[in-house]
Amino acid sequence: MGERALLRDGRARFGVACLVVLALIAVLAPWITGGDPALQRDVVATRFLPPWSTDVNGVFHLFGTDRLGRDVWTRLAFGARVSLGVGLLGVSLSVLIGVLVGGVAGASQGVVSKGLLAVTDFALALPRVVLLLLLATLWAPGVILVVVVLGVTGWMPVARLVYGEVRKLMALPFVESAVALGASRRRVLTRHVLPNALTPVIAAAALGVGNAITLEAGLSFLGVGVQPPAPSWGGMIASGRDALINAPWVAIAPGVALVLVVVACTLVGDALQDSRQ
């Protein structure tokens, strides 16, 4: 694929820049913020301070404070760890399953291939949000559960994609010559076919990360995702909703961050997809 073309693509540059900045904020959170996302001082004196203000203790609040006097910027930065982490891990899991299922289905014939495709179609018919809600209800909500469920309910598009690519590539002369040279089926698949099917998978993964992050925040918003007092963007929006009139910044800040991540992921995914044409 054309890496140069990708670098010249304004969408990709903007998307990557956004993601890099957000990743840096997440990684450097303890050093660029107040340090403790759950820190409360005098609640009555420090609650609902507007953005760009200094409280009675002389602490500066870039994005203001929430109902418990906690610094919104600090919670946003630490929440980025949860959001980006859960999104990346969940999508990694779904890419892993998707490549495995799609690759095997594409490289094999008959019952195995048909069976795997049928399973994929079935899983595609599962209502994702409802399944997430159901699982979060039945099991104790938590970060690991959310990651696993996002992975398990998100692999089907990747599998479909990989299947199509593998089928297409298997018919090409370079694969035929590898087979003629005596390479085993597994070797052909892992060394020759799958590496060539990588770009569309990365594009799909980029789009998937945005989706996964939105879903994770949605679960936390409904109270069945990441549990308080751990900071998460979805939880912040939910708690900010109650104080919308007095302190709209509590809900608006994490929402803007969410939109930014999803836009960035979508742009990177779009640019990757276009770079193949």
Binding site: P127, G218, A251
Partner: protein
């Protein structure tokens, strides 16, 4: 074609059965004893055993599965733990509100999204095209639960033009018939706007992509060479071809819309299936959660069936293969 649809319908039934089975297995595998949950922490072991017997939980799993399937097939979805009412009645009451919201937003977001894409394709590559792309990707990226909160802030609190939640006002019963309709419309505005804006962004992106991909196709070059105007080529020749994949999207977006409606209904206290589901999740009301899950799986199956049918109707090439 009829045969093709029958086969698809049979596959759909199979998928539904699979979902119901999966839900049953998940419920069995989940930690926690429903009997214990029902009776509370103060229950004695004898009471729990008795409750387990009443619920049929002491029977073999296969027998429980058989009984459950036969109940679901007969339309008996059980009784809500939280309200003590039949789940079927609760769903029947909630259903029309969701259908109204989802159908209207589907319609509006398709019409507006396609219009937006046409405007973009007409000036493709220009600055207007780019700004509209930025707008549509931003709308598409907005989580429904956040956009809803922002719209409430703007339209309910700052501008005070629409109510923040509910399906009817407190004074609805005392209004004239016309006033009552106006009241419903005002209450519908914000939930509908939330779903429509997000859906519109996604559809505009999709249709614009399809239209741009078609640019330079030979049949469009021919149409242009015949001397047709740019607008006519776009509307009469490019759009119908770009809409075929959009029809597939229509069927597939039905379940996505339902998912979106889950959040939107919860936020606006819109009395539909989505709010019912969220309330049930928060109250650990298993029978209601299960029933809503099964129904949304049904929606997915129905959606892909509708998409299949529409595509066969729209694309003559597929009609032939479906015959053979």
């Amino acid at each position: 074609m009829a045969r093709h649809l029958v086969v698809r319908a049979l596959i759909g039934v199979g998928v539904m059965w699979g979902v119901v089975t999966l839900v049953f297995l998940l419920l069995r595998a989940a930690p926690g004893d429903p009997a214990r949950l029902l009776l509370g922490p103060a229950a004695t072991q004898t009471q729990i055993d008795e409750q387990r017997h009443q619920l049929g939980l002491d029977r073999p799993v296969a027998a429980q599965y058989g009984a459950w399937i036969s109940r679901v097939v007969r339309g008996d979805l059980g009784t809500s733990i939280a309200t003590g009412r039949p789940v079927r009645t609760m769903l029947a009451e909630a259903w029309p509100a969701t259908a109204l919201l989802v159908t209207l937003s589907l319609l509006l977001s398709y019409v507006l999204g396609i219009l937006l894409a046409l405007v973009q394709a007409n000036v493709s590559g220009s600055r207007t095209d780019t700004s509209l792309s930025v707008a549509s990707v931003t709308l598409y990226a907005m989580p429904s639960y956040w956009l809803a909160v922002v719209l409430v802030l703007v339209f309910a609190y700052w501008l005070r033009v629409f109510p923040a939640f509910g399906a009817t006002g407190l004074d609805a019963e005392f209004l004239t018939p016309v006033g009552r309709v106006a009241d419903r419309v005002r209450h519908l505005a914000l939930p509908l706007l939330t779903l429509t804006l997000i859906g519109m962004g996604g559809i505009a992106r999709y249709v614009r992509g399809a239209l741009v991909d078609l640019q330079g196709s030979q049949f469009l070059v021919v149409a242009r060479a015949k001397g047709l105007s740019k607008e006519s080529v776009l509307l009469r020749h490019a759009l119908p071809n770009a809409l075929i994949p959009v029809l597939i999207l229509l069927g597939l977006s039905l379940p996505a819309l339902f998912s979106g409606a889950v959040f939107v209904e919860a936020i606006f206290a819109w009395p539909g299936v989505g709010r019912l589901l969220v309330a049930a999740v928060q109250a650990r009301d298993y029978p209601v959660v299960l029933a809503a899950t099964t129904i949304s799986a049904g929606l997915v199956v129905l959606g892909s069936l509708v998409a299949d049918g529409l595509v066969v109707l729209a694309d003559p090439r597929l009609r032939d293969t479906a015959h053979g």
